[in-house]
């Protein structure tokens, strides 16, 4: 059924596209996380910021991904920026919500005790709120990584220079070549599963104090 010979001939491309796929996803996650974290910390401090930022993120999520990628082409051309801007926007939907929820989940009695014992504002954020928000933040990263790895494939519509493993899927579809579609799709699924496990492990490793594994509320 599969053309194993074709696969054997294209191993170097497969390696290159896998690396590119990971790179596109990692950049989007890193930038998305940095933005969400900054907004999340601010929103945890000033609650009025939360509704507008959550609303904007929610609206972005309703835009069909193909349309969103296409929308930036006139402005940024077929560059990596055109790929990353929508990818980052999609991570924000998940990460922003989880970062804010993470800070929000810190029990009020813990905060009161910290204040009463003489923690300064900054120290309380760093030593108490942040560690307690980590489980939900990492849970958000986990969901966002899986979703981003899936979305990277769509960047193949922006041309041969992008797309990661999506390049094979896109090209396989135009050529009606099942083997090439599988060569793009199967590793994508594997990458997503690996990322999911990795973040799950990370979450457990950094929260030995939490007997129960907290589940992601985003999605």
């Amino acid at each position: 059924m599969l053309d194993w010979g074709w696969i054997g001939d294209h191993l170097p491309q497969l390696a290159f596209r896998t690396a590119q796929h990971l790179e596109l996803a990692a950049i989007a996650l890193a930038i998305g996380f940095a933005i969400s974290f900054a907004i999340g910390v601010a929103a945890a401090r000033w609650r009025v910021l939360y509704p507008p930022s959550a609303a904007i993120a929610g609206i972005v999520f309703t835009i069909p991904s193909l349309a969103l990628f296409a929308a930036f082409v006139p402005a940024t051309g077929l560059s990596i920026l055109t790929a990353e801007i929508p990818l980052v926007l999609y991570t924000l939907v998940i990460l922003l919500r989880n970062v804010v929820a993470g800070f929000d989940a810190v029990p009020a009695d813990v905060l009161e005790a910290a204040d009463a014992m003489g923690f300064t504002r900054g120290r309380r954020l760093l030593r108490i709120e942040l560690p307690l928000a980590v489980p939900l933040i990492v849970a958000g990263l986990r969901v966002a990584s899986v979703s981003t790895i899936g979305l990277v494939s769509i960047t193949a519509i922006l041309g041969d220079a992008l797309g990661g493993l999506g390049f094979f899927i896109y090209e396989g579809m135009t050529r009606f070549f099942a083997t090439e579609i599988a060569v793009g799709a199967v590793p994508t699924i594997v990458l997503a599963l690996v990322a999911d496990r990795l973040f799950l492990w990370l979450e457990r490793a950094i929260t030995p104090w939490s007997r129960r594994t907290r589940t992601a509320t985003a999605g």
């Binding site: 813990v110 009161e112 014992m117 300064t120 560690p131 939490s210």
Partner: protein, 405 residues
């Protein structure tokens, strides 16, 4: 005891409320903010426990939180050893005031040892000293350091968590402790034990403690002084619990302390306050002849059998003590409740009624018999203490309760 190892132990401060008022704007009240406080003035001498008690919304928690400035007063001053709290750096002030709340507020991501050493860490103590102090405090509140030091709060029971909360508040040996319904979330048996342990601890520590509760019984039991507050944050009465029970300043206070305030006074007196009464005792193995002579001469018809260390084994009915033979443990009937000089008369009476026996045995720390207490002795005590008017009613109530049991 380990607490005395701390050089600054038994340091305490005077807390004075001077015309303290807190008013919230109407918007805050609609959000369910705590009740306001109105022109509150009272002084808690160093080393005393003052309990703020009143119905919900009377401003007792608000008053407490103004001391460590979690809430700032609208007007008036709170003086700590004569210094206005408002003039202090707020984080420094808070590190000198222990704080215990009902939900405990332990940090879930830190071990018990780290939790206890929180304020010492904020104060920059070296690691070794922090660890030593945490162990010392865990032992002080009755938790084995080796067992508990490395656990996380989620692995502890409610009662254990509350002990850790108390240990954490004591960590930097603060002269003042604020406790907001600290034993409110644990079951009645654990609460009783924690209260007793805390009172014993306070005998050594002699901190100035402000304690909030809505439970008048807890207030009477814990307080050297009681501040009864009523809706609107008004101080209804301030004074020692016995005075408040004997002489309520208003209808509100009388209603709040309850119609059974005569009985409540039982929780203020302890077995040691009663005139002593020594039972007829004999050692297991003694000849019963001489014992029989002694027990027939005593109005109390039971002989208390004790072991070689004078520890009680059980009672022998005088009719079962025959003229010749040897007294043995097998003759003894089940033991009465064991009391000590610190047991409150309320607990003593309750134990007697529960066990359905005529007398409780008073033992010392080593378990040696010191005397006995009967329900009659407790009723006599109430009769002597009560004012003429309240006297008859309360004694009758107690007698009726005793008769029903």
């Amino acid at each position: 005891m380990s607490a005395s190892a701390t050089p600054a132990a038994a340091r305490a401060a005077t807390v004075e409320f001077r015309h303290v008022t807190k008013s919230y704007d109407p918007a805050a009240l609609r959000r369910g903010a705590p009740g306001a406080v109105n022109d509150l003035s009272f002084t808690v001498p160093a080393g005393k426990i003052c309990v703020l008690v009143g119905p919900s919304g009377c401003g007792k928690t608000t008053s407490l939180k103004m001391i460590n400035r979690l809430i700032e007063p609208t007007s008036g001053q709170i003086l700590i050893d004569g210094v206005d709290a408002a003039s202090r750096n707020v984080t420094e002030l808070r590190r000198e005031i222990g704080y215990v709340i009902q939900q405990v507020g332990l940090f879930p991501h830190q071990s018990i040892g780290e939790n206890v050493a929180t304020v010492p860490r904020l104060l920059g103590w070296p690691r070794a000293r922090r660890r030593e102090r945490a162990d010392e405090l865990l032992a002080l509140v009755g938790l084995d350091p080796a067992t508990y030091r490395d656990r996380y709060p989620a692995q502890l029971s409610g009662g254990e968590r509350q002990r850790v909360g108390v240990a954490r508040a004591l960590a930097a040996d603060p002269p003042i402790m604020l406790m907001d319904e600290p034993f409110g979330a644990v079951d009645p048996i654990v609460r009783e034990r924690l209260q007793n342990e805390f009172l014993r601890l306070q005998e050594q520590l002699a901190k100035t403690i402000l304690f909030v509760t809505h439970d008048i019984d807890e207030a009477i039991k814990m307080g050297d002084l009681v501040a009864v507050m009523q809706a609107g944050g008004v101080l209804a009465q301030f004074g020692p619990p016995a005075g408040i029970l004997a002489d309520p300043a208003s209808d509100f206070v009388a209603r709040f302390v309850g119609t059974d305030r005569g009985l409540k006074r039982l929780s203020l007196a302890r077995v040691g306050d009663l005139p002593g009464r020594i039972p007829v005792t004999a050692r297991a193995g003694d000849r019963s002849g001489p014992a029989r002579a002694r027990i027939l001469a005593d109005p109390f018809p039971y002989l208390l059998l004790v072991d070689d260390g004078d520890r009680p084994i059980g009672w022998v009915d005088q009719d079962d003590v025959d003229g010749d033979g040897v007294l043995g443990p097998e003759q003894a009937i089940p033991m009465s409740p064991l009391l000590n000089r610190r047991t409150t008369l309320k607990d003593a009476l309750s134990l007697l009624l529960e066990a359905d026996v005529q007398a409780g045995i008073v033992v010392n720390r080593g378990g040696r018999v010191e005397g006995i207490v009967t329900a009659g002795m407790i009723l006599d005590w109430i009769r002597e203490q009560g004012r003429p008017a309240a006297d008859a009613a309360t004694a009758d109530e107690a007698a009726a309760a005793a008769a029903r049991a």
